[in-house]
């Protein structure tokens, strides 16, 4: 499944990043690498974007961006 399908308060582990180019690089740079655990903190009041917690810091992604992250639910 992809990160945008993970629900609030759920935790998951990254399997892979399905994007090349600047988008993929950005995600990698920010720590979205295979093996990392992510927790979904909340959605914005209008549902998109979504706030995630990984490795002690918070990153928000748009749904379209979270779609590029393949995860396994924990």
């Amino acid at each position: 499944m992809t990160l945008d399908e993970v629900k609030r308060d759920q935790e998951c582990e990254i399997v892979d990043i399905i994007s090349e180019g600047i988008m993929g690089q950005r995600l990698l740079d920010m720590g979205f690498i295979p093996g990392t655990r992510i927790k979904v903190i909340r959605n914005a009041p209008l549902v998109d974007p979504v706030e995630f917690l990984l490795k002690g810091y918070h990153i928000s992604l748009r749904h379209s961006e979270a779609k590029k992250v393949e995860v396994n639910l924990l």
């Binding site: 914005a44 209008l46 998109d48 706030e51 490795k55 928000s60």
Partner: protein, 835 residues
């Protein structure tokens, strides 16, 4: 290392939110200088400090998470490190977020510049229960590690010493990340090839270059192409290796490299950092539970925006009531140094310089508002709330090609009571996405600028008096509606080619901003603005003056006016009576002197605030010329505690009042005639065939143009142009309606909308140039509103006429139309940006 004048250049790098600016301020204090990196809009801050006799120049590089070549900021940081060859680079690291920060540290280390690790925000790390073994960390990284608490100034001495010591070393400690046994051999072979090319190996660290080539880095490829003789072979080799690697391992080399870096960071952190307690929820988390809450979040957002607006615009404007007298005083000072005014004509060397001065202080009047706005923006940025705003609003703004962060500039540009596009455009600086940033910059001037409000009120009062509230609401909100639609259109057309940046946004922990930091930023920016703007304003003022006041009225007309004025003076003397004791004081040149006294007195009284100030002015003028004083006080004044009622003085007062009225009327007539026959007036007539469709005939054109140039309220100018023959007492509306049969609320609506879309004033345009870095955009920002304004005005006027709509009907119809258009625009999907 520069060997001239003992100046040691050191770079300051770090990820965003690591406290880099605070460290920069801490180290350099007041000795700072802000400029732009050559050719781009990114701010370059340099500062200096002395340590043990050496002078160190610190260059603040843009904060970046990584050092790819995807964004301008990263490229700038890289270029500086590679080309400017600083003696050392200080990496400001957020100690509470060590693992992620090291990702950048490694990349810096690979660039072969002596490294100093500044472990900042130690207090936050401690609060989070992190215990860091500094020695161990330093050993693992092969670089000195200095802990600091930037916003408290802790560690200042030590880091300065370390910087000096490191920069003297001259060589960076060798640092390598093991990228895995699958990649290392490839890197080795690339390194060997590159080393053979002396042009390259002399300039760039080959290891770094090899890694970058495997990352498919564009800039690295460009460098190879430029300096290598066998660039084709090397690049092809890199390409082959990359493809082969990806095929074999199902992962691209850049992914493997990124992962390797993170893993190494993880390893180092696990070795050097012990986590005492497991923090479940920090203060930031708890605040965010409210700030980003589904229902409360938007409420808090609106409240915050409203607060900013209220403090900066509304209260800021109130402050100008106190600062204005200072500006007025300096204007009067200059006026007193110029050749004196005449009765109905003023000499060129008075009226032109005064014109320029007036234009300049009109802009300077805004400075208090700027100061407050810049301070508030700085606070928002520093606290971290800005990111939350973007988080909440992104969804809506995205549909129009804007960014969540676009909201603040738009608010600053003006909501209901007005705003100012100048700081509004500046506030766009924080928007990372270039496409959205430029779009925001382009539409901020469409907001309700403070300057436009009185104009709307006047026109609404004139033609929509019964529906004042609705009309004001209409004009205040229509600008936002149109602005959003325009943003979308820009996004789909002119900005199409620009790259859209990924949103991927960090939500930093909340921070208390330092007063120093905020003040420094706000003063810096205001000063920069004043410096840049004033020269241009002066230059343009001169040009405009020539356009409006030349060629001037003919000699015959001048004579005509002079004879009118002479007549009025005759009447004055008749009215005062032959036996009036004051008559002697008013003859010949004295009349002109009295006139100046009278004008000065009125002006001073107007500018005075409060009873005490008014009394002080009375005192001042009494001492200046007691006889004149008696007259302006209508013959009622105090002598030795007794109130005197001087009938003669009163008579002179009444007679003079009439004279003054006539004189003012003559002045107005002269001005209007001058304008109509001026170059600008001719232009107004020239463009009439086009503007007719918007309902503007040449008189209206001139009225509009002069309203903004001649500084007469447009209503007065319209009044001047529709001069009623002497004796008639028609009101302005009646006069207009007479002259222009069929000039209705529709005309006015068209005018108002045109004014709403008005191109930005010069200071704003300068801001646009600064923030976009291109004259092209500045010109675009100048002309597209004119086109837009005309289209809308024509649509409303001609359309309204064809459909036989009344002013109100057209207003409502247009509003609905605009809303529908907005929704449609919002629904248009942009093409997918990323694969």
């Amino acid at each position: 290392m520069s060997s001239k004048s003992d100046k040691i250049v050191v770079a300051l790098a770090g990820q965003p939110n690591s406290g880099k600016s605070t460290i920069f301020n801490m180290l350099t204090g007041a000795r700072q200088h802000v400029a732009n990196y050559p050719g781009v809009t990114v701010e370059k801050k340099t500062g200096s400090f002395r340590q043990d006799g050496a002078r160190i120049e610190l260059v603040d590089l843009p904060g970046t998470h990584s050092l790819t070549s995807y964004t301008l900021e990263e490229r700038i940081a890289r270029d500086f490190l590679l080309n400017d060859k600083p003696a050392a680079v200080v990496d400001v690291v957020d100690a509470s977020n060590l693992e992620r920060n090291l990702y950048l540290t490694f990349q810096l280390a690979e660039m072969d510049v002596p490294l100093v690790i500044n472990l900042n925000m130690m207090d936050v790390a401690e609060k989070r229960g992190h215990k860091i073994d500094i020695q161990k960390l330093s050993r693992q990284l092969g670089a000195p590690v200095v802990p600091t608490v930037g916003n408290k100034g802790k560690g200042k001495e030590r880091i300065r010493e370390t910087i000096l010591a490191t920069s003297k070393k001259g060589r960076a400690a060798p640092f390598r990340i093991d990228y895995g046994d699958k990649l290392e051999p490839i890197l080795d072979s690339l390194e060997k090839r590159l080393s053979e090319e002396t042009e390259i190996s002399g300039r760039y660290p080959v290891r770094w270059l090899a890694v970058k080539l495997m990352e498919n880095d564009e800039e690295a490829q460009r460098v190879v192409r430029k300096y290598s003789k066998k660039s084709g072979t090397i690049l092809r080799l890199a390409e082959e290796k990359r493809e082969a690697f990806t095929l074999e391992h199902k992962k691209s080399p850049q992914k493997v490299i990124a992962i390797a870096r993170h893993k190494e960071a993880q390893r180092i952190v696990e070795a050097s950092v012990t986590r005492k307690k497991e923090i479940t929820s920090t203060l930031t988390d708890r605040i965010d539970q409210v700030a980003c809450n589904r229902y409360l979040g938007p409420v808090i957002l609106v409240a915050t925006i409203y607060l900013i607006y209220e403090i900066a615009i509304v209260q800021g404007y109130r402050i100008t009531e106190y600062t204005w007298p200072v500006l007025a005083w300096s204007r009067d000072l200059i006026a007193s140094l110029l050749p004196s005014e005449g009765f109905i004509f003023d000499p060129f060397f008075r009226s032109m310089p005064l014109w320029v001065v007036d234009g300049t202080i009109a802009v300077l009047n805004y400075v208090p508002i700027f100061l407050i706005l810049f301070a508030l923006i700085a606070i928002l940025e520093d606290t971290g709330y800005m990111a939350r705003m973007a988080f909440i609003l992104d969804r809506i703004f995205r549909h129009f090609g804007l960014h969540g962060q676009s909201v603040l500039p738009m608010v600053i540009g003006g909501l209901y009571v007005g705003g100012c596009a100048i700081p509004g455009v500046l506030a766009c600086r924080g928007i990372k996405d270039e496409k959205a940033r430029i779009a925001t910059i382009m539409i901020v001037p469409l907001m309700n600028c403070l300057a436009k409000i009185p104009f709307y009120v006047l026109l609404v009062g004139m033609f929509f008096a019964a529906y004042k509230g609705i009309a004001m609401f209409f004009i205040a909100t229509i600008t936002i509606i149109i602005a959003l639609s325009i943003a979308k259109i820009l996004n789909l057309t002119v900005l199409r080619k620009k790259e859209s940046a990924p949103f991927v946004m960090e939500m930093p922990p909340y921070h208390l901003p330092t007063i120093q930091g905020v003040l420094r930023r706000c003063l810096e920016r205001t000063w920069l603005f004043v410096k840049k703007i004033i020269t241009i304003v002066i230059a343009v003022s001169v040009i405009v003056y020539v356009l409006i006041y030349f060629p001037g009225i003919s000699k015959e007309r001048k004579t005509h006016y002079i004879s009118q004025s002479d007549q009025a003076q005759q009447t004055f003397f008749e009215k005062t009576g032959k036996d009036n004791s004051y008559t002697g004081l008013m003859t010949g040149d004295n009349l002109m002197e009295f006139t100046r006294y009278w004008r000065d007195y009125k002006k001073a009284k107007m500018g005075a605030k409060g009873k005490n100030a008014k009394e002080a002015i009375d005192q001042e003028f009494r001492e200046k010329n007691f006889e004149f004083f008696k007259i302006v006080k209508k013959g009622k004044y105090e002598v030795k505690g007794e109130m005197i009622k001087d009938k003669h003085a009163k008579k002179v007062y009444n007679a003079y009042k009439k004279l003054s009225k006539t004189t003012n009327k003559l002045r107005r007539e002269i001005k209007d005639e001058t304008i109509i026959t001026s170059y600008m007036g001719r232009a107004g007539r020239f463009i009439e065939p086009l503007t007719r469709w918007a309902g503007f005939n040449w008189r209206v054109n001139i009225a509009l143009m002069s309203a903004f140039a001649a500084k007469e309220s447009s209503v007065a100018t319209l009044g001047g142009i529709y001069q009623s023959p002497p004796g008639e007492k028609d009101t302005l509306e009646e006069r207009i309606k007479e002259k222009e049969k069929g000039w209705t609320a529709l005309h006015v609506l068209a005018i108002m909308l045109f004014m709403a879309m008005y191109p930005p004033c010069i200071p704003t345009l300068l801001m646009v140039k600064l923030e976009t870095g291109s004259t092209k955009w500045m010109l675009f920002a100048t002309f597209y509103p004119i086109v837009l304004g005309i289209i809308i005005a024509v649509l409303v006027f001609t359309g309204g006429n064809l459909l036989g709509l009344s002013g109100m009907q057209a207003m409502i119809a247009f509003y609905i139309l605009a809303l529908i258009f907005l929704v449609l625009m919002g629904l248009i999907k942009r093409e997918a940006e990323f694969i």
